[in-house]
């Protein structure tokens, strides 16, 4: 069975016709040509298809095992990880000065698109390492960076993010892990960390030489709440090779991503160093958490793609029923011959391809925000990324989950059977809606924070972009939808200004905004489609039409829900739920 085939044609379509131009003008990437990018993507696809995808099903069955405090990842994971590191893939989008390849940030999403589709569990290890790199690069002292940045960038060392504690999940102000001053050394003032972290992805594993934990903890005299949290770097092995006092004390049994270790981590007087300023740990963490949220969105994209691939393949082979209405005789046909199945397949394809356009679009803006010559354009790009981060995180992971569920549906009862491989997608997809801030928290972030930032100007960045998309053919209703979006946004902003709690209707608003943003992408894709080979162009156009005919109406409905007065929606009283 072919486990996964990277959709290079669609990836390249999006890269070249929808987002590529924006990168072309950025100074650090002036020397990058189409051929080199093509070669990089082809080789990434080869590695992912040949080495990483085949471990997916077996890794799910085998899971991770805890022996004493050591964790064994599924068979094949260590070798695949080594191949990943040897190829230099960990540092794909990290700066060359740190030993990375210095490619645009965008390409880390193309890689995640492939990795998460092929093997979501595996994809988490490099993702967390990349997050740890970003945190260290942006906030670490020179001494700490010298010590750890190159080994993390190459993937020789892996990283983790240690935020969650039993009593502190969404609400990180409740963190209790303590850090006591403990002298100083070449890497600066040192601390001893004591406390328990839970749900730590990659907290222990047998893939990398060392593990570098990024830990949120409190200093002795720290103020209560989020203003009293600091960020520390705690390695598993200390610079002299000695084992640090941080141990895996348990492994969670999970619904999915069995190949990713989810650890209870005991910090038992572990030595660590402060990253950035004292008591500003949460802020430091968030500069990189925003990128991690975008990365999780792209994990949703990857699963959406894997689900679409499986379902399309199956629907062309599974023979069931007769063609046409009420026909009882004649040849049995593949289920793709039934319009109801085609509805599901088109939804799967538009889900995956739409998610791809949006994920790459926002990722490209991260590059623009970093490197554009014009400060105004940089600021605009940064604002766009701020606004779109919760939309991508929640929206694209919801699409991943919906697609996984639809793929099971296309398989019928066979989809519910383990050996057929699609139920794993469904189990693996759900976690994306939960970690890096639950999707509910994303919706609240969108409404309560992003609608207020920059005097409420951020949504207009998206709206202006959508206004420029060609509202042709099936997209004729787009301007009306845009007007509705502007109106709902203004209404929410007025309620926020009046001090009302609007978070009860934040999710419908996020759903509306997601579809509006996707509509803008699809309208442009429809226009760019003729650049594809004829058969692919026709399919792309069909997908655009299908999106317009089904999702624009859903967007209108979601905005309509969000426009209501939350006080009139039976949301006010805990006693009434």
């Amino acid at each position: 069975m072919i486990d996964y085939q990277a959709p290079l044609t669609d990836m390249q379509f999006v890269l070249e016709h929808l987002v590529g131009e924006r990168l072309a003008g950025l100074a650090p990437f002036a020397a990058l040509d189409r051929e080199t990018i093509g070669a990089v993507l082809q080789e990434a696809a080869r590695l992912v298809e040949a080495e990483i995808a085949p471990l997916n099903a077996a890794g799910d069955r085998q899971g991770c095992r805890l022996q004493e405090t050591a964790v064994q990842t599924p068979a094949g994971f260590p070798a695949a990880y080594q191949a990943f590191v040897d190829g230099g893939w960990q540092g794909l989008s990290l700066p060359e000065v740190d030993g990375g390849q210095g490619l645009p940030y965008l390409y880390s999403h193309v890689l995640m698109d492939m990795l998460a589709a092929a093997n979501s569990a595996f994809s988490l290890y490099p993702m967390l390492t990349q997050s740890a790199c970003e945190a260290l690069r942006l906030h670490g002292s020179e001494a700490l960076r010298d010590r750890y940045l190159a080994t993390l960038t190459s993937g020789r060392f892996a990283g983790t993010m240690c935020l969650t504690e039993p009593q502190a999940g969404s609400d990180l102000s409740l963190i209790r892990t303590r850090a006591e001053p403990d002298g100083a050394d070449a890497a600066g003032p040192a601390y001893r960390l004591t406390g328990t972290k839970i749900f730590i992805t990659g907290g222990e594993q047998d893939l990398s030489e060392n593990i570098v934990h990024m830990v949120l903890a409190r200093l002795p005299d720290a103020p209560a709440g989020v203003e009293g949290i600091s960020l520390f770097l705690v390695p598993k092995l200390l610079p002299d090779g000695e084992r640090n006092a941080v141990y895996c004390r348990g492994l969670e049994q999970k619904m999915g991503i069995h190949g990713a270790s989810t650890c209870v981590m005991g910090f038992e007087g572990a030595r660590g160093w402060l990253v950035g300023e004292a008591n500003r740990g949460l802020r430091h963490m968030f500069t990189m958490m925003n990128l991690a949220r975008l990365a999780v969105g792209s994990q949703g994209l990857g699963i959406a793609e894997a689900a679409a691939q499986r379902a399309l393949g199956y629907a062309r082979e599974r023979l069931q029923g007769r063609p046409g209405k009420g026909q009882r005789t004649g040849e049995t046909v593949p289920i793709v011959a039934h319009a109801e199945v085609r509805r599901m397949l088109l939804r799967l394809r538009t889900g995956a391809e739409g998610a791809r356009m949006l994920a790459y679009d926002v990722a490209a803006e991260v590059d623009v925000a970093r490197h554009h010559a014009d400060p105004a354009r940089r600021e605009q790009a940064a604002g766009y990324v701020e606004l779109m981060t919760p939309i991508c995180k929640a929206g694209l992971t919801d699409i991943g989950l919906a697609n996984a569920s639809l793929a099971v549906q296309v398989y019928g009862g066979h989809g519910y059977i383990r050996d057929n491989g699609v139920e794993q997608l469904l189990r693996d997809a759900k976690i994306n809606c939960l970690y890096e801030g639950t999707n509910g928290i994303q919706a609240i972030d969108l409404v309560a924070r992003k609608l207020r930032l920059a005097d409420g100007a951020l949504p207009e960045i998206l709206f202006r972009r959508v206004a420029k998309a060609p509202a042709e053919g099936a997209f004729a209703p787009l301007p009306a939808l845009l007007a509705q979006a502007r109106e709902v946004t203004a209404r929410l902003q007025a309620r926020l200004a009046a001090g009302e709690d609007v978070t009860g209707l934040a999710y419908p608003y996020l759903e509306g905004m997601l579809r509006l943003a996707l509509a803008g992408q699809w309208a442009r894709a429809q226009q760019a489609a003729p650049a594809l080979a004829p058969a692919q162009a026709a399919r792309k156009q069909a997908a655009a039409v299908f999106f317009a005919r089904t999702e624009l109406a859903r967007a209108r409905a979601e905005f309509e829900i969000a426009a209501q007065d939350p006080a009139e929606c039976a949301l006010a009283d805990p006693a009434l739920v």
């Binding site: 069975m1 072919i2 040509d33 051929e35 080199t36 070669a39 990089v40 080789e43 080869r46 590695l47 080495e51 191949a83 040897d86 190829g87 230099g88 893939w89 540092g91 794909l92 390849q101 393949g313 199956y314 082979e317 599974r318 009862g413 066979h414 519910y416 059977i417 050996d419 057929n420 080979a533």
Partner: protein, 286 residues
């Protein structure tokens, strides 16, 4: 040790369509790839270099776009790349191609003597398997075709021991260097390119040789003039016999026979593996 690997850029046959009326191959829009058979030779050359050190030079004759094939080889670890390209080569058949390549190998040897030349077993577009032997003959090299494994190579004593697939068995052959080897498909697995390799390949200045630089003095030996082969007609032959295969295996149990049949079918048609994978699984649920 200096190893030259001849690679040819070919249209990706999995995407080729034959024109239904004229029966000619429709090449437009078909992406070009490195002839898949050549990759086994490239990998073997790189392994030899890993073992005994030295230099791997990749050589290709083709249009300027064929540079892509050479870059690919560089990304996997080849040291040097030479593209022999000249309008004068247009229309070369296997005779003219092997003449030109042999001449180019001779030129390459001026810089550092060539110990080994690798060719693919055949190409997926021309399919003649003549070019490798043609080069060997012209350069007076020992010829080892269908090699499945290189057991030993001794650059000092200038000897090489290989396994060669022959009818009904495997030959273990020892010969002296320099020699020309064509590798059997499936005998190794191509390594993954590192990103450092990919970027080196992107920046690598592929050398371009025209016919003069390739050492060809007599232009009538290459191109259409140097190609006695004439294509009269291209057609799809109608199979006149049905082939039958005897399925046998050691134990002869129904399960083993079925597994052997399945293996035969899937190796002959890799796409079938995907189809069968799914169909096979349908039996497990209800």
């Amino acid at each position: 040790m200096h190893i030259v690997v001849c690679i040819k850029q070919v249209p990706d046959s999995s995407q080729i369509r034959v024109h239904p009326v004229t029966n000619t191959i429709m090449r437009q829009g078909v992406p070009a790839v490195v002839n898949p058979y050549d990759l086994f030779s490239l990998e073997e050359a790189l392994r030899l270099k890993d073992r005994v050190g030295g230099r791997v030079t990749v050589l290709c004759m083709g249009p300027p776009q064929a540079e892509m094939a050479l870059r690919k080889a560089i990304s996997f670890g080849a040291d040097h790349a030479i593209l022999v390209t000249d309008r004068a080569f247009a229309g070369s058949d296997t005779l003219a191609t092997s003449f030109a390549l042999a001449s180019a190998v001779r030129q390459i040897g001026r810089d550092m003597a060539v110990d080994l030349v690798f060719c693919g077993k055949q190409t997926i577009d021309g399919d003649t398997a003549q070019v490798g032997p043609g080069i060997a003959k012209r350069l007076d090299l020992q010829l080892l075709t269908y090699v499945s494994q290189i057991d030993a190579v001794d650059p000092e004593r200038r000897e090489i021991v290989v396994r060669r697939r022959a009818e009904g068995g495997v030959q273990v052959l020892k010969t002296r260097l320099p020699c020309l080897i064509t590798m059997l498909e499936g005998s190794n697995e191509l390594r993954f390119a590192t990103q450092a390799g990919i970027f080196r390949a992107a920046r690598y200045p592929v050398q371009r040789w025209d016919s003069k630089a390739a050492g060809i003095e007599d232009p009538s030996r290459v191109g259409l003039k140097g190609s006695p082969t004439v294509v009269r007609k291209v057609f799809a032959p109608t199979p006149n016999t049905q082939r039958a295969d005897l399925i046998s295996c050691e134990s002869g149990t129904p399960e083993d026979l079925a597994a052997t049949l399945l293996a035969k079918l899937t190796t002959r048609n890799p796409e079938l593996a995907a189809l069968l994978g799914r169909a096979g699984m349908q039996e497990t649920g209800r």
